[in-house]
Symmetry: C2
Subunit: 332 residues, 2 copies
Amino acid sequence: MADGWMAARQAAEADWRGAHITVADLGEFGLIAAMKALLPAGTAQLVGIGDDAAVIRAPDARVVATMDLLVEGRHFRRDWSAAFDVGCKAAAQNLADIAAMGAVPTVLLVGFATPGDVPADWALDLARGLAQEAARAGASVAGGDVSSAEAIMIAVTALGDLAGREPVTRGGARPGDQLAIAGVLGRSAAGLALLKAGLAEPAVLVAAHQRPQPPYDAGPQAADLGATAMIDVSDGLAQDLGHVAAASGVRIDIDTTRLAGDPQLAAAASALGADRLGWALTGGEDHALAATFPPGTELPARWSVIGAVAAGRGVRVDGGSSPTHSGWDHFR
Amino acid sequence: MADGWMAARQAAEADWRGAHITVADLGEFGLIAAMKALLPAGTAQLVGIGDDAAVIRAPDARVVATMDLLVEGRHFRRDWSAAFDVGCKAAAQNLADIAAMGAVPTVLLVGFATPGDVPADWALDLARGLAQEAARAGASVAGGDVSSAEAIMIAVTALGDLAGREPVTRGGARPGDQLAIAGVLGRSAAGLALLKAGLAEPAVLVAAHQRPQPPYDAGPQAADLGATAMIDVSDGLAQDLGHVAAASGVRIDIDTTRLAGDPQLAAAASALGADRLGWALTGGEDHALAATFPPGTELPARWSVIGAVAAGRGVRVDGGSSPTHSGWDHFR
């Protein structure tokens, strides 16, 4: 089956993209071989792609592990996002979950279910995106699975190493703590709104939607600074902080005057007649990190204080009630 | 969202199964809460379901990791397999991959994409099956993700610990080694053939298709016995041994006279006019373990010698050529 793919590849050689080779033309093993060729082994891999399972270094003797699904039509559209971008995004959202525990990502495992008539280059560009974003986090793709399906679905598992740190959960925030974020808020949501309106500017916002760039190393940094709780902002700041408030048994107050004024967001809001603050509070997918720190912790510039923790429950925005049910529910 | 589910659950209380509650009725967070309640935490979990990522013990300082996809209509049919069985099977095939490296499974992560109109009980029975089979292997479900989708898709990642053993890859078989298997061969394929023919007997074969029971502890046992190569038989014995032959640079000879005579298989073959040996050689999904051992290794009774390793390449059955392309390709 890999032989069939090699023959097809050689025949197409100079005009691969024009050859209309599909995933089904490659076959299961040809597809795996072609993707594997684009996924360099990382230093954490002792056994990588091609055996029953991968063997990965876990020097801390604990491993941090997370999984996210991306479903075509739900999480991405092929007409709005290139395969490379889908690969970057699939990697980013899982790597950010590892960082949000205070850990350093080591590897990804990738499950790729696809209709057979999807162009082979779509699958290969997906692999390129996965590899690039994994490398940005110091990780690599160490294994996975492929299958046929009616629609594209991508399952990504990320593993990480704590390097001796205690994991930073959602449950440790205490009244008096500072609330701070690293990364950007609302840019992905604004980029999506621009795409829906058929606009391509500001390009930096469209790019933020297509290829979010979470600040991975801010996660271990927060752990080293003594963060009491941390979360990856994936469903919207208000909703995600609601999880921290619930797990910690506290109230979290957001001060929107301290959400950094983002001139690009303002420009997009003006062009679309939209609510800039709504994007920042309820837009997900930027994968900023939100963390709480003990009072008096001196934070590096990348961590912006945007609120505080108090006794009570729930999330308050500027002293008012929180925008409930404002984030994402896959079945609503 | 969990509130909505609780209200629905209380309203349905005495007649849950008759109430036609769907996954969409539960909502994303209600579904996660309901599944979590059926997934007891295991001893390997330091942080389990409900944070950005799980934290799992990895005492060996290496972690074994694998992922498989199950797609409705490809890997299972809802009219042939109950959700509980799908859960068992999804767990089994991943846990077997961990065992095939010589490791002990620790946890599963489960991604569950589903149409919103699937009955909530289908999802909960899936969780019950996952939990039961994980427990049979000494593991537990430590995290995952849910999403809506047009068809059900289940992604399972399994992690395991080597406990100081060297991983047994596919690449170490040497000429002169014995070839042995632990577990059953062909029963799942025979069970599927019975189901396709509308037959329910022999029931043990139908059950083998619905709930394969891999011999997980035979994996670490083989490693301790000095196995040179090992593989989980998931795509058919001949095809999977082809992977071992290729990775090891050897030829593998199967002696079919030594494939244990299975009276149940014989009965099914007779009833269907089918080829008993074909099931054993090309049927996958029993998740037997096939391993090679140095000559002279004394093997416990559960390991049946069925052939040998020689110089050369490929797989030979009774001295003849191998049944090529006889196993499973998802796109062919």
